[in-house]
Symmetry: C2
Subunit: 196 residues, 2 copies
Amino acid sequence: MTTHTSSSIGRYASKFVDLTAEELTTFTAAFKEMKVKKRQFLVQPNFVAKHRYFILKGALRAYVVGEEGQDHTIQLAIEDWWISDYNSYMFQQPASMFVMAVEDSLLLQISFEDEQQLKAASYKFETFFRILAERSVAFMQRRVITNLTQTAEQRYDVFVEKYPAMVNRFPQYVIASYLGMTTEFLSRIRNHKLKG
Amino acid sequence: MTTHTSSSIGRYASKFVDLTAEELTTFTAAFKEMKVKKRQFLVQPNFVAKHRYFILKGALRAYVVGEEGQDHTIQLAIEDWWISDYNSYMFQQPASMFVMAVEDSLLLQISFEDEQQLKAASYKFETFFRILAERSVAFMQRRVITNLTQTAEQRYDVFVEKYPAMVNRFPQYVIASYLGMTTEFLSRIRNHKLKG
DNA sequence: AAAAAATGTTGAACCAGTTCAACATTTCAG
DNA sequence: CTGAAATGTTGAACTGGTTCAACATTTTTT
């Protein structure tokens, strides 16, 4: 089992940096496997997000609750994605988000301190986390552009096209809130498509 | 002049990593000072963004042009901020954005290749760029949250409160498009405030 | 298998923000 | 200093998306 775990995050890291067998061991040792049940919370507002999570199996979402109680989904994550409240995790300040499992999930968790140690221990680990952050920046910039330039229906179409694997694993109201529209409106968009 | 330049970007980098005199020299040498006139373009769609820019003096914006010709401002930048089309710069792919000077500006430019060399040359430089990217992630996550949860008027209020230095340096239609609303609507919000 | 909880659908009224058009004001190049 | 370009304002009609409420369907729990 440790073998399986190691190879997952190890394989992932090896996509970005070239690690020796020893480095791979040190790297994977910083992660702890963890099971969570559907609807379990990993991060809650006002508490500091002490970990970030890599998803081996399952599906999670990060969301904030608005003043009138509406959910706003900030991030969706399935296998091979990372999730946390990054504003909280990176600066170790109180979170504004919930991170919740949408399915029973199997995760690898790394603590802020252990991540700092990895970065301090090896140039290559520092590079790995730099690449991770840069990719997030590019991803989020694309999201900002989409939100600013597309209509609700276009945003949904782009989402389905880019993340087909996610469409069937999150309830409709979660996808709607991720795309910045109401459940009802997404329902209408979908049913509209069936007809023409 | 080199002295002034060096100390600006050097002082900036020193906020995040502890550099020796020699490292400072290597670091600042990778940057090239550059003047741009108001309305000059630094990045254009379909061309690869070969540089990122640190602003010594002046103001710039990054924007995409929508299908119906409307501007959508993705980023604003003044002194001590960085700007580029990061999706293009980081992956060296064709840009989707314009980056344009809004005032006559004085910049420090670094090329993608030189940045790669800095990162490869020193652990500390790698750390510096990692921190830069992480801060961007946190910043953009806050922007996504604001866009998803606030009304147009609230977004404007938050902007004025957080970036008062920017309010008077960008034309109203630029700020409006950054905040995801029309010029006309921002005009109404502002005039509405004068009365009550 | 039944009850409860969560999720999805539909209609109709509504509204935050847009659009268009005309005009006012400010900035800037020559 | 002047004219043109850029920027900002206002009104009135309009619309993409929301809200609310009631009901339908699916999933989960016991």
